[in-house]
């Protein structure tokens, strides 16, 4: 009887974010490291690296990415590791001394919104990758399938999470090794196909005139990305007894891991300038259909890993709210998945404008357009591509933006050296902005 009570208390402590005493912390070093790796190496690495490729060439960009990721993880490691390791609770509870018992709900909101936002982003990319794989296999799916696949993926994450922390540990252990190998293969393949010397001589896509501003942009994006690990770190390291192994897993897997993973998007963004690091736009062009399928598989697997840890962190945070804490674990994970499904239903409904923009910019973000136009107008060194510019009306923002130009490009890896862009008069207004 006592054993049953103790086991129930253990489960309640793990699932509710209560303090975990030393005997209840069952994760090994590898479990913490693999969970952190599976969290860090996700599709966002491509987008982050693609952003740096706007501003920096390969050599300074590589240095800035590694330096920025190391600086950013310092703050998260200091904020989360000592306290979560000592008392065994997550980031929400660790804010109680500063914010108070009611103020900690601000931390709940921050963690929930941050992880949910990132998860939706990843799952949309997962859906796009699945559609791209189907396309390569000759199954031409409509873009509305992105939303449908995304909803199915969200529900699958709920199923994976049914046993709480143990599910996260077991699932990410499988994923971590696969994503590390695939990320390394993608980097090597980009280098080999482009030529390492060519890759390191390519100019940035859309640099500022001030070189210091370019450096600052490259560093800042990695610093800010690493700050977002605050939402995840406490939930991971609370399961490990040793502070030392938690610290170095955080620094190397979460911090440096996202930096090294971003190199794939960075080199891809330099090699295929119109991709902005979006792998669904450059992987097939670089490696051919077979490698494209493997790489899209990487995107799907890594997105699952990160979404699982993200939803676990969000569920732990939600359970700090008394009314939700009284629900069962599985009911809370379903509650956590609800925004994903709502957003993806919208994605399904507004399929083309939403998903086509979501990969490289925020959803239907008008203000991202000028940078895209600059990239299109930039001269490049090869002659194998075609670029067609046309003006269309944005289906979501009709009232605000009467004519939204779109670009469609041929499946090539270089822009012609003298690219002339023809656009309608209404479009050219925005070209000059």
């Amino acid at each position: 009887m006592k054993d049953v009570d103790t086991r129930a208390a253990d489960t309640a402590a793990v699932d509710n974010g209560w303090p975990l005493v030393r005997a209840e912390r069952t994760w090994s070093v590898f479990s913490v490291f693999s969970t952190a790796t599976a969290t860090a190496l996700a599709t966002w690495c491509f987008i982050i690296g693609g952003f740096v490729s706007y501003y920096l060439a390969a050599r300074p960009g590589t240095i800035a990415i590694i330096a920025g990721s190391l600086i950013g993880i310092l703050f998260v490691a200091l904020a989360c590791v000592p306290v979560s390791n000592k008392y065994g609770f997550d980031a929400v509870t660790s804010t109680t001394p500063q914010f108070g018992t009611r103020g900690k709900y601000l931390a709940v909101a921050l963690i929930y919104l941050a992880t949910t936002g990132w998860n939706i982003y990843l799952i949309v990319l997962l859906g796009k990758s699945a559609v791209a794989i189907a396309d390569n296999l000759g199954l031409h799916l409509a873009s509305s399938w992105v939303g449908a696949i995304g909803i199915a993926a969200s529900l699958l994450v709920v199923v994976i999470l049914r046993n709480g922390a143990d599910s996260v540990k077991d699932f990410t252990r499988l994923i971590a090794v696969v994503v590390v190998v695939l990320a390394a293969v993608i980097i090597v393949l980009i280098g080999v196909n482009t030529g390492w010397s060519t890759l390191f001589s390519l100019p940035p896509t859309s640099p500022n005139a001030d070189s210091k501003a370019n450096w600052a942009s490259g560093l800042e994006v990695l610093i800010s990305v690493n700050l977002s690990w605050w939402a995840y770190t406490g939930a991971i390291v609370r399961n490990r007894r040793s502070g030392r192994s938690s610290l170095w897993s955080t620094v190397f897997a979460l911090g440096l891991g996202v930096g090294l993973g971003s190199l794939a998007g960075f080199y891809g963004g330099l090699a295929v300038p119109n991709s902005a690091g979006d792998p669904t736009l450059f992987i097939v062009a670089i490696g051919g259909a077979a490698f494209g399928i493997v790489a899209m598989g990487f995107i799907i697997i890594s997105s699952f890993g990160t979404s699982t840890v993200g939803m676990y962190s969000a569920t732990l945070a939600l359970r700090q709210i008394p009314a939700i804490g009284r629900l069962g674990w599985r009911a809370t994970t379903l509650l956590g998945a609800r925004p994903h499904c709502s957003a993806l239903c919208r994605c399904w409904y507004w399929s083309a404008p939403f998903t086509n923009r979501y990969s490289t910019t925020s959803a239907c973000s008008w203000h991202s357009w000028p940078s895209r136009s600059r990239r299109c107008a930039a001269s490049r060194s090869s002659t194998t591509s075609s670029c067609v510019v046309s003006a269309t009306t944005c289906r979501r923002c009709t009232t605000r933006h009467p004519a939204r130009p779109t670009i469609s490009c041929g499946a090539s890896t270089r822009w012609p050296s003298s690219l002339s862009v023809q656009a309608s008069s209404s479009t050219s207004i925005y070209w000059t902005q």
């Binding site: 303090p19 005493v21 030393r22 330096a67 190391l70 200091l78 065994g88 560093l219 610290l247 620094v251």
Partner: protein
Amino acid sequence: MNASSAESDRDPRLTQLITLIQQGDQQGIPLQRNDYLGLALLTIVVPALLIVIGALT
């Protein structure tokens, strides 16, 4: 008044855990001075050197 009512509403298992976690042998193994020094070296000194190298090249 509010604090005492919140404590009385608290789940007894949580109260027990809060008492337990105050004991040093129930807490996680803390970081040592060398860990903090290593962290400072890796996340402050190394990036500073990288930035200098990047600026010079």
